[in-house]
């Protein structure tokens, strides 16, 4: 026998993956809900500490001869506590990038969820690479923060960078990918206001197809107006390519 009660609006649970209509005992959560939460939390913490298999990603994208680079953060512990190291390319890696003249470079980075980058980024990456831009060889970046992409783009001679990076794991989504598009990235100068973000790319969130079309719309408009960030509104980008997607 339990004192916990179901909510009479429990039928609404089908409408959202959010933890709604959890029921109650008094003002508190039922035992089962408390334990569900603890399990999800521990799983998410485990996801944060997982490592990226960069070689496997490299093989998956071998048709485009990707490069593998490392930030200055030597391991996960140092990555979590020193964001400055995660934004700097290791000197050895900088030498591994060959300069050229490109429209765009795509970087796949572990960020805070290696599993998201490992499983979700290759599909989005392939969809983008099939488009009509002059792409640099894609880059797989280990122990990387968003701003590491700026340095990579400069080293490769790319005018724009698309960073596909593991987002901080949530309880319901340990594997969620974010895409940051930056035109004319400048290491140490470009701020978040200079980027456009498409987030929540994952099963149950934004599909790879939808995400790719949004990223692409941003890339196209960025190339036209020669800017990203607060000067580029996603509405305007989508309006240029697919007006039916707005509402």
């Amino acid at each position: 026998m339990t004192s916990a009660q179901e909510d009479f609006w429990a039928f609404l649970r089908a409408a959202t993956p959010a933890r709604i209509a959890l029921g109650r005992t008094g003002d508190s959560l039922p035992t089962r809900r408390v334990l569900d939460f603890q399990l999800a939390h521990e799983q998410a913490r485990d996801a944060v500490h997982a490592e990226l298999d960069a070689d496997a990603l490299g093989e998956e994208l071998s048709a485009w001869t990707p490069a593998i680079v490392h930030s200055e953060a030597a391991d996960r512990t140092s990555f979590l506590q020193r964001p400055d190291l995660g934004r700097a390319l290791s000197p050895h890696s900088a030498k591994a990038l060959i300069p050229g003249n490109y429209d765009v470079t795509i970087v796949i980075a572990d960020g805070l969820s290696a599993a998201a980058a490992q499983t979700l980024a290759p599909t989005v990456c392939r969809m983008l690479l099939a488009q009509d831009f002059v792409f640099a060889p894609p880059v797989v970046a280990v122990q990387a923060r968003v701003a590491l992409g700026d340095e990579i783009a400069v080293a490769q001679g790319a005018r724009m960078v698309v960073m596909l990076i593991g987002e901080r794991p949530g309880l319901s989504a340990c594997r969620s990918l974010g895409a940051y598009v930056t035109f004319d990235p400048r290491p140490g100068v470009t701020t978040d206001a200079g980027r456009n973000c498409v987030s929540n790319i994952r099963p149950g969130g934004l599909s790879a197809e939808e995400a790719s079309s949004r990223i692409l719309a941003i890339m196209r408009l960025a190339q036209t107006i020669k800017a990203t960030g607060t000067r580029l509104k996603e509405d305007a980008a989508l309006a240029l390519t697919a007006p039916q997607n707005i509402s």
């Binding site: 020193r82 949530g170 969620s176 607060t230």
Partner: protein, 461 residues
Amino acid sequence: MSYACALGASNYVFPDLRTLLARASPDRAGDRLAGLAARSGEERVAARIALADVELVRFLGETLVPYETDEVTRLILDSHDRAAFAPVASMTVGDFRDFLLSDEASGRFLAALAPGITPEMAAAVSKLMRNQDLIAAARKISVVSRFRTTIGLPGRLSARLQPNHPSDDLTGIGAAILDGLMYGCGDACIGINPATDSAARALLLLERIDDLRLRFDIPTQSCVLAHVTTTLQVIARGGPVDLVFQSVAGSEAANRAFGVDLALLDEAHSAVRGLNRAPQGANLMYFETGQGAALSAGAHHGVDQQTMEARAYAVARRYSPLLVNTVVGFIGPEYLYDGKEIIRAGLEDHFCGKLLGLPMGADVCYTNHARADQDDMDNLLTLLGVAGCAYVMGVPGADDIMLGYQSTSYHDALYVRRALGLRPAPEFESWLKTYEIMDARARVRPKLTGRSAKLLGRGAS
């Protein structure tokens, strides 16, 4: 000017006020990351001993971030109210702590003092205060703000209903809103963080919430927490914008990293006022802040993160906002490493905000890469409830499925109200009773047979 403290054989010298404040700060990850933290426990206390002797007027003469190049510094100094400051003008920082905790410092007195206090003074005195001091002083101050509800009254605790969805799905968001209303949350506002920064989507979301509000006569206000430039577009399209939201920080350069400056915020404030959706004299802005924002943008000017946070409140104060909250554990362990650091920061931010005259709430939260868990949040939530926090977040099951972090839940809001005898905003409380969500004993207990069921039958959008 340098500051010094001799302790036995050691003579600690701090070259300027900025360094003195940083060394006096309770230990935390962001100051260690910035290389600003005290190098030993003894140095930290030496800095506090030296800081206790600094006169408050000193903060008007020695700027931490240059006046010439930073509009936040100019805002702080140019808007400083000398007359309001007069009662404490001869005090040192140490005297000021003693005064804040004294019987003379009544809530009324402290409210009148607020325009005379600068963020740097607030930050400085907080560094000499223990957690219980931060609670005891904040508890005396009540800052009341108004729109369709009255927020911040003594004995009340409001909740922002935060029904986020990873793809801004209208049905999903609608379901989470109904769930929150059934749990007595939403009196601070119904505030959605959008997954993408789209004016078209923000407009649609605001229209749907406004329909729901009008249909059931819910006394609350809504907000889509998009970038201010996006909200300006929604206003230009005639959207039902109650509140303009923006994240702000404590330096001009940090705000630039957020894509804003004071001129833009002025423009937005004036635009939302022009909509005339609120009763006369209502508060129309909503700001979020958080320790570490300036450092993460490389715009901290060698100032410790807690002082930079307090400077963000000067930006907020300019607009007499309805809501201001620190998102205390959101930014991550690089800035606040564990539960202890998050709890301390939450109490500091709440105290400093209230001392500066803001209707201060808190997003009691943490991320999965921080060393913190629900027990830490329970502690901070309870402490803030005791400290007289204006509002907290209500996120379904404490799990924000869009932003990927854990905040407080609808259940948590009920818990803290119950444990501390706090009630929702008066207008909202009446509505909860009218709709039989709240029973005769002021408990939130909706029944299938009550009027609340109508909300479900007709309300799902």
